[in-house]
Symmetry: C2
Subunit: 336 residues, 2 copies
């Protein structure tokens, strides 16, 4: 595997666009297309034992994911994501070799305790463990260092820096990377998960090439950048870029085929991607859903939205629930 | 002026989206907003003596541009573009200090002779001269070197590398830059004009920061990336990025105000920006209008479009006229 590898998370992070309902054929075709395109890692969806609908990229049982795998020799490293609010440690069934090889455990800062329990179970059951602490920038360097000390003991396969809100800049990434690079074992991969609110995801994926490290770097991306709000780094862009710059051998043709047959039909019905509203949430370091939720129900100009963002109480900037946004906007409208 | 400065070309390159009809108020407001935002350069539109409609960012007379300037002290360096197919050397009227300060002369490779005549007139009439040879990558290094030798004699203020079709990569930019840097006088600026077919415009604007040169660099950008096909580098993104990285003082607030009041109403009626079709034109080094023209009249999947692009005769890849695209697609459809 090359030093810089790419993890496609279309079915997982792109799922926010379709409520994870892709249909069985699309799940199968996306996994197959990405496999034939030589992607390094494919994240197939979320694990959630209470979810039972067919055709969703949310799986109630680990083994069912294997049924979607293509019948080809060289497959990518297959993963699923486990959110510690959705699955209990005892619900992780043992690794059989017939389904996913790794599990990414994702959690917020207030969930560290439960998350580490889940991580231990993932390891114990024989999976490669990826640890994904969301909103990395929410941790002070001291807090992050302490967290990493605890994660290191679990011998993870990889740990990711997660720019959940798309406003981490070059120096932020470098600083958190340095912390990880200093503390983690040499064979632990470091991942980057970005969002495109300020269109920095592609730039970040270029910046890491300058990092002085022998470690494996794993860059998250999704087809057409499919994902919440401003979306993610585009798989087709970064694979092509790395092919040209690093001589990797991703098959862009196969990637475009799966975009054409599986993602474009979704893009006709749903939108995602950069907008000046999401740029402003980046500028003001607030949760992008303040834009997404508000614009669902209100006609708000970019200028008014900027005023609204400045009206959000500091302590609420990264906490965004739909009814709160609505209530706050009412209050804002009365005042202004 | 900082070493890296930004030229907003919304009214000029964004004009392709509205056929340059913005209306007088919008032209005035955009120029004013960008001025208040401390943009370094503002390109106000095209010069074209045969164009007479009011409210277009195409000006039949140089002096009329000055009427749009805001009544403020610190104004950006104001420019207009002169296409050597649209204006004759003798139609450049003398510099008066009441309108634009500089003129960017733009031309294709087969127009070098006429273009240099026009350049000479621009200089003679007292304007700062910017030379903009389109589709830079169409020139071999030898041809480009010879062209630059001739341009240098004109004592230009600046010369730009123009990635008209959005497929120049990091090394291409470096190589053409080196040629320019070796040949041009030390006080001549070097410009970068990119398109976003492969979303490389932002990356290019970051890459230039690593160039070892004391020269002034001028980066072209437009509000919301407004421009043909995949559009340009977004002014709001690059100004904010440079503010954070270089400590420049662009007023992002003012930029967002002008986006809100002047550009968003246009974005509601017209679309531009990245698409997988335009990405393919980048991959296959063909004119993006093969996608734009075709999709106006036909439902074509991404996969079919890739086949169509491969069907375009090599010598026609960068030559794109509407009737030709239509004819070729008919031929393609019969065959496949």
């Amino acid at each position: 595997m090359d030093r810089c590898s790419i993890l496609d998370c279309t079915l997982r992070d792109g799922g926010y666009i379709t409520d994870w309902y892709f249909g069985e054929d699309t799940i199968r075709n996306v996994i197959k297309g990405l496999s034939l395109a030589n992607l390094d890692y494919v994240e197939c969806g979320y694990l959630n034992p209470s979810e039972t609908k067919k055709g969703m990229a949310v799986f109630h049982d680990i083994e069912m994911i294997g049924d979607y795998f293509p019948n080809i020799n060289k497959k990518p490293f297959m993963l699923a994501m486990a959110d510690c609010a959705q699955i209990l440690p005892e619900q992780i069934t043992p690794y059989t070799g017939k389904s996913i090889e790794g599990i990414r455990v994702v959690f917020y800062k207030h969930q560290i305790k439960e998350a580490l329990e889940l991580c231990r179970s993932v390891k114990k059951q024989g999976y490669k463990l990826f640890v994904q602490p969301m909103v990395t920038i929410d941790y002070s360097y001291k807090e992050y260092g302490e967290l990493i000390d605890r994660i290191r003991e679990l011998e993870p396969y990889g740990v990711s820096i997660v720019d959940s809100f798309g406003y981490m800049d070059k120096k932020d990434f470098q600083d958190y990377f340095k912390l990880l690079d200093d503390k983690l074992e040499r064979n632990t991969a470091i991942g980057f998960h970005s969002h495109n609110n300020m269109q920095l995801a592609f730039i970040t994926a270029q910046d890491v090439l300058d990092y002085k490290t022998e470690r494996q770097i794993v860059i998250d991306a999704s087809l057409l950048g499919m994902g919440r709000g401003a979306g993610n780094l585009n798989t087709e862009l970064i694979t092509n870029y790395y092919n040209r710059l690093l001589g990797t051998k991703y098959d862009i043709r196969k990637i475009m085929e799966v975009i054409s047959s599986e993602i474009m039909p979704i893009a006709k019905k749903h939108t995602w991607g950069y907008s000046p509203y999401l740029f402003l949430t980046g500028i003001y370091h607030c949760h992008p859903n303040f834009a997404c939720y508000l614009l669902e129900n209100h006609e708000v100009t970019v200028e008014e939205f900027e005023e609204f963002v400045k009206f959000i109480p500091r302590e609420m900037l990264t906490k965004c629930r739909r009814p709160y946004v609505e209530r706050l906007y009412e209050e804002f409208s009365r005042r202004s």
